[in-house]
């Protein structure tokens, strides 16, 4: 039986996803959306391909709403609680449905994780988060299916088999990666996916089928995309305040005192309403940053903002996030990078994976983490040929691992027991 609050949360998620779906149908005709959807399924999904340009903004929104709805349905069917982790997963899937995740390329990964759970003698419920976030490797399937030059049927077989194999590997690697950074990088599957994708990219390169880099970037997004986030953020804040303004604001302030290290389910530890306020505030702040630096509010940027909003229920809040963003900005200014260029802009949004570093070790550590993150993320995409969508999660995980290693070494190498 679902608790009343969880039922309401499901209702809110249904309304949001239906709203995005209908918004997509409003800006493009159904026929055009259908054609755009087909185009999105077969178009390279590697970083960085903005589906709002590939199939049109309407088709991209419909694609994102469908893949996110699949994630939500999987949560409901598995009878897993809709709370911070699952809400963040659904928001992240929606965001990446605008630039990489498709109906076609997410399913084999989930099947792979189901098989992995069976091999380990676990229930799928125990692995569901890895399945949902594991769709980061969706582009691997699209690449194998449509970019290797194989005839259609063999290409499909290789794509599905590759996706299932990646899904089978995900849980074992994810748990080891988690221990490496000890929960200080929120997008752990980004590190996991990047690690697995290194091997995938190596195999593709060895077989001579490695695709070249691509950049499809919508530099003229419509008003719908530009104003989607403030509307959503306002809805989230209003939904939060419906639970009683005084208590909700108090819960939000309580969230600001948490370090945010994985796994910090704000919805469970504090309240759903306080978390919704935090999500709305993070939405306004990240959107405001993009507008302030003159960035394009297109598919990838919305992906970054939606991921930030989702994880505002599962680890990040303004207080542990700002130092990391300041670190990214400092690195950009030092190295003469344009803050509105695709790389730095996405790094400033996705660097929030490192928010727990600032939350646990203070703002100086957060700034250092953000600085290192920007330098790393500009390199890591090429390593895996862009088939790991959470490239910032990969770079963030590596950065967190380095920082954890140094801090742990420093603390443990000092004499603690007098001789």
């Amino acid at each position: 039986m679902l608790e009343r609050e969880e039922k309401r949360l499901y209702g809110l998620m249904y309304i949001l996803l239906a709203g995005f779906f209908l918004a997509g149908l409003l800006v493009q005709s159904p026929a055009s959306v259908s054609a755009g959807l087909v185009k999105i399924q077969i178009h390279p999904a590697r970083l960085l391909n903005d589906f709002t340009l590939v199939g049109g903004e309407g088709a991209a929104l419909v694609n994102a709403a469908i893949v996110a709805a699949l994630g939500l349905a999987l949560t409901r069917i598995s009878k897993v609680r809709l709370s911070g982790p699952t809400v963040s997963a659904v928001f992240t899937i929606f965001g990446f449905g605008l630039f990489g995740k498709t109906i076609f390329n997410v399913i084999p990964i989930v099947i792979g994780v189901v098989i992995s759970a069976r091999i380990a003698g676990k229930s799928f419920r125990e692995y569901i988060l890895m399945a949902l976030f594991g769709t980061t490797l969706g582009p691997l399937i699209t690449t194998l299916g449509f970019e290797t030059g194989l005839p259609f049927l063999p290409a499909m077989a290789v794509a599905v088999a590759g996706g299932i194999a990646a899904g089978i590997l995900l849980p074992s690697v994810a748990m080891i990666m988690l221990r490496m950074h000890q929960g200080f990088s929120l997008y752990n599957i980004g590190l996991t996916g990047g690690f697995i994708a290194l091997f995938g990219a190596a195999i593709l390169t060895a077989s001579g089928a490695a695709p070249g880099s691509s950049l499809v970037w919508n530099s003229a997004p419509s008003g719908l995309l530009v104003y989607l986030v403030p509307v959503l953020s306002a809805v989230l804040i209003i939904a939060g305040l419906l639970g009683g303004a005084k208590k909700t604001v108090k819960d939000f302030l309580n969230i600001l005192s948490l370090p945010g290290r994985l796994p910090s389910d704000f919805m469970s530890s504090t309240s759903i309403q306080g978390s919704l306020i935090n999500m709305g505030v993070i939405g306004f702040l990240t959107w405001g940053y993009v507008i302030l630096v003159g960035g394009d509010v297109n598919g990838p940027v919305l992906g970054g903002i939606f991921t930030a909003i989702g994880f505002a229920a599962f680890g990040k809040h303004p207080k542990n996030s700002w130092p990391v963003v300041v670190g990214v900005i400092a690195a950009c200014l030092l190295f003469g990078k344009d803050l509105s260029a695709p790389g730095p802009l996405l790094a400033a949004l996705f660097c929030l994976t490192l928010a727990p570093i600032a939350g646990e070790f203070g703002w100086i550590a957060g700034i250092v983490a953000g600085f290192l993150h920007l330098t790393m993320v500009e390199r890591t995409g090429a390593w895996h040929l862009g088939v790991n969508l959470y490239n910032n999660g990969f770079a963030g995980g590596l950065t967190a691992t380095l920082m954890v290693a140094v801090i742990e070494w420093y603390r443990s190498s000092r004499e603690v027991i007098p001789k």
């Binding site: 699952t86 125990e126 000890q182």
Partner: protein, 129 residues
């Protein structure tokens, strides 16, 4: 399978011991009683805690049906070396927990086992003994 069980117990002990040691006690005792279908882990220290502290420990260890967290993030239990101990990582993986004031310190009892497991069968922690 035995190795898996040993690893699991070691990590639970490590996380709870981490929590107890964070409070800087001068004495800590760990007691383990195993049965085929379950086990009882008891950790004692000599650090008296306020009722609200005990309540906070109880809340962290309170058994919650969160398989999605236990199966993934629960694997971090006992591995952390930085930051404070996190009893909720343990709470997702146990069947029951009791936290009590012994007068001279705190006792944390953890009960683990399958559906058939009955903590009352244990002599340790049984009120009749």
């Amino acid at each position: 399978m035995k190795r898996k069980r040993t690893d699991f117990i070691l990590h639970l002990i490590s996380e709870v011991a981490h929590f107890v040691l964070d409070a800087d006690p001068s004495r800590m005792v760990i007691s383990l009683h195993q049965e085929e279908d379950g086990l009882h882990l008891a950790i004692f220290d000599d650090r008296p805690r306020k009722p609200e502290e005990l309540e906070s420990i109880r809340k962290s260890l309170e058994h919650q049906e969160r398989p999605e967290l236990a199966g993934y993030y629960g694997s971090m239990a006992g591995y952390d070396s930085l930051g404070s101990a996190r009893l909720n990582l343990v709470g997702w993986q146990i069947k029951a927990a009791t936290v009590s004031d012994t007068g001279s310190g705190t006792q944390i009892d953890l009960w683990l086992g399958g559906e058939r497991f009955d903590p009352e069968q244990f002599t340790l922690g049984n009120k009749n003994t």
